[in-house]
């Protein structure tokens, strides 16, 4: 595209982008983020392509990102002139063909696959609303529920994820069409670096990747630090298992992160930027690299950005599969090409970071918030949220919950609203037991605290933390001792080994937890576990080590009875710990269908057709396949 040098150029690009997003012909969009592709979006895309070619329907096919309700992927959106945008859920290649033939006939087919309709789009960056059609809603569409009125979306407020699922991540024009890069123009043309920092400080924005350090304060200390060369870095080493909002933003709306980084660079006085993306996110790397090239071609990265005289460029650095590299000092070492060992933080990265230069590191979601704040102002952002936690936060709502996906909500909303109102409650009619937040550094919040308002302080008060926003819902079939063992196992492998408490303490904690889950714990084990956890918390060197015992400490605090059942009764109440459980068949529920008998890999199931089967415990290897295939819930694990 032609280089953008002025506000006029930007306006022209916006018009072009708007024509692409609100076309006067039919447009079909397929959600092609990683979760969509893993659910089969690529086949759907191909089928749509072929069907459009065959039926000669006048329709433009394009990709979009993830709109959040990953549960219903693959998603397909259809935009037709004079009509709302219709979202189709759980699409298959076959349904895609039907959809196109319906379009060819001019009828609204495939009704059973409709997830909902979108009448208008909120343009978060400039605060406007743009409708997909003028006048009355055509009657044919009345039965489709507007997405804003659906349980999953009703309580959401999307700022960081404002464009995800609405624009083609491969189109810089569509990003500009939605008001993108106007905040950058505003910052460069009308605001001093000092003014930008002031705006971010007043907005109350805090780091979205972990501890919640105030972003404005970080920028100010970087700007004030002595040094010629400075850096800004986007931390996209989203290592917390169970959190994937950064992947989704990079895949679905990469330019929002680039724009945020340029504004940040202007504020702190940096001319070089890095994004550190974990290797497990190939599509994020692809989409972000393409966005960098587009921004360079448009003159939005490089020399003399938007004619302001300001220079800035971004390089992408790939991670190597090490969780500790999400810790800022380890991340810097990794970008420098060394092993990712953290260092003690006597000196902050803002003073001496990458190659000992002042460096600002922010998480992907934080960067994505920046353009919206600069555009709408600090007051707009800080009007949302709680006293100390402003704005919104994206959570990945996953685990044993009915609606899984990414949800962006105002800070301060209660856990109950997230799990039950948005998430639709616990899957399969089971009972909520705990919600795990904050990844391996966080904790397990018990069902009794479900009315907790979610912000940085409240989560810390109950022993957990915000972290990057993973929210794993656990039901009564999740064993909390096993979960604690799982996290310690994770952290042993990810501990860099530099300091003793983390390297050795975690090993010893794991040995005790393994004993408990195997039914061979001894007296005093719980006491030792508690003490070890406290020592690691108080003496480890970096953030990873000091927070590593959180999963153990919170489960000990809230689920002690479950630990005791393992130790005293040699029983796993949730039916998870292999050494303590037995598979059997409920003769009342068993219909004698022979399916489990056929699938059992160890020949442990016996029985005849139409007669209740039985499991021979001496042959059973506890692989769980009988339980997986049984359609009558007849396999009992206790």
């Amino acid at each position: 595209m032609k280089a953008i040098r002025s506000l006029d150029d930007l306006e022209r690009a916006r018009k072009k982008g708007l024509r692409s997003c609100f076309p006067d012909t039919t447009r079909i969009m397929v959600g092609m983020a990683t979760c969509g592709i893993a659910s089969g979006a690529a086949e759907v895309y191909k089928a749509l392509q072929a069907a459009i070619r065959e039926t000669h329907v006048e329709a433009r096919l394009s990709m979009t990102g993830c709109i959040g309700i990953c549960q219903e992927e693959p998603l397909v959106d259809v935009l037709q002139p004079g009509a709302p945008r219709i979202t189709y859920r759980r699409m298959t290649a076959q349904k895609a063909v039907q959809l196109v033939s319906g379009l060819a006939k001019g009828t609204l087919d495939s009704r059973e696959s409709i997830f909902g309709r979108i009448d208008a789009e909120d343009f978060v960056v400039d605060g406007t609303v743009r409708r997909y059609f003028e006048g009355e809603l055509p009657a044919a569409y009345a039965s489709a529920l507007p997405y804003r009125e659906q349980d999953f979306y009703r309580k959401q407020l999307r700022i960081a994820m404002r464009h995800c699922g609405f624009i083609d991540p491969g189109s810089i024009e569509e990003y500009i069409g939605h008001g993108g890069y106007f905040a950058l123009h505003k910052a460069l043309a009308t605001m001093s670096p000092e003014a930008v920092i002031g705006e971010i400080e007043r907005s109350g924005l805090r780091g979205r990747g972990g501890a919640g350090y105030p972003t404005g304060r970080k920028w100010r200390s970087c700007r004030e630090a002595a040094g010629e060369r400075r850096f800004v870095i986007a931390n996209a080493d989203e290592g917390d298992p169970g959190a994937y909002m950064d992947r989704s933003i990079l895949e679905s709306d990469p330019h929002s992160v680039i724009e945020g980084m340029i504004i940040g660079a202007w504020a702190v006085g940096a001319h070089e930027g890095f994004i550190y993306v974990r290797a497990e996110y190939p599509l994020a790397i692809t989409n972000f690299s393409r966005a960098i090239s587009q921004a360079e071609a448009a003159g939005l990265l490089g020399r003399d950005i938007l004619g302001s005289g300001f220079d800035f460029s971004i390089r992408l650095s790939r991670g190597g599969g090490a969780f500790v590299c999400g810790e800022s000092s380890a991340l810097l070492a990794s970008i420098e090409g060394r092993i990712g060992e953290p260092r003690a933080k006597h000196v902050h990265a803002t003073e001496s970071g990458l190659w000992d230069c002042p460096t600002t590191i922010n998480n992907v979601e934080t960067w994505a918030d920046v353009p919206a704040i600069v555009s709408r102002g600090a007051g707009w952002f800080s009007a949302v949220g709680t006293e100390k936690s402003k704005g919104t936060k994206v959570f990945s709502l996953v685990g044993k919950v009915t609606n899984t996906g990414l949800v962006e909500v105002p800070m301060g909303i209660s856990l109950r609203e997230i799990v039950f109102d948005i998430g639709g409650g616990i899957a399969n009619g089971r009972k909520l037991k705990a919600v795990q937040t904050g990844g391996p550094s966080g904790g397990c919040i018990p069902e009794t605290l479900i009315d907790l308002p979610v912000d940085y302080e409240k989560l810390s008060e109950v022993g957990s933390m915000m972290g990057s926003g993973g929210m794993i819902v656990m039901d009564d079939r999740t064993c909390m001792v096993d979960v604690a063992r799982y996290f310690v196992d994770f952290l042993i492998e990810e501990s860099c080994g530099k300091c003793t408490p983390c390297r050795e303490g975690l090993q010893q904690m794991h040995a005790i937890l393994a004993r408990i889950t195997q039914g061979s714990a001894v007296d005093g084990d719980l006491q030792t576990l508690q003490e070890l956890a406290e020592v690691v918390r108080d003496t480890a060197m970096c953030g990873l080590g000091t927070s590593a015992p959180n999963p153990v400490l919170t489960t000990l605090r809230y689920f002690r009875a479950e630990y005791e059942a393992h130790i005293r009764d040699k029983r796993c109440p949730a039916g998870v710990c292999k050494e303590l459980i037995r598979y059997s068949i409920d003769a009342q529920a068993c219909t004698g269908c022979l399916l489990c008998l056929k699938k059992c890999p160890s020949g442990a199931v016996s029985g005849e057709r139409k007669k209740p089967h039985a499991i021979d415990a001496s042959k059973c290897i506890k692989c769980g396949v009988c339980s997986e295939v049984c359609r009558f819930g007849a396999v009992v694990v206790a």
Binding site: A38, A322, T404, R503
Partner: protein, 187 residues
Amino acid sequence: MSSFNAAAVDRIMEKHGDAGGTLIGILTDIQKEYTYLPREALRRVGESLKIPLSQVFSVCTFYKIFSLAPRGKHSIKVCLGTACHVKGAALILDRLRRDLAVAEGGTTKDGKFTLETVRCVGCCSIAPVVTVDETAYGRLKQEELSGIIASRGTEAPKRAKSARATAPKRARPARTATTRQRAGGSR
């Protein structure tokens, strides 16, 4: 797996330039070429970056994506993220160990598959997840595994083909989380 070719390594070195901080990227690309990091390649990298071999080696063994031993044609990775864990990833891993007759980190006798684990691929909403090369399979049941493996044993299955066909064509990153060679590993 191809035999060591100095020119290929030099080409990769040239592509990355000497801007500093390029070591991990260079090793990633070398591994993409050979499926692992051959000893001769590491020596050559050390020489041209003017850093000791010990430093190159420390990076190779610190990061999980790197392997010092040749790997199978296809990489099967079981995601062990929290969401996958609570949805039974351990049972999936057990099943693959049995079916492929390899331990975690091992390669099948015919050299076709390397079985590995990964700490979250970010598809938590459709847990449990297994990836084969760069294709992710979600909401997996043990019963579906044999079909996925069988299709790779002969040729790429449908989903993989189409994913490749439609994914934007650009540089791809490393594919692996590999054998746990680090001291202090838990398993």
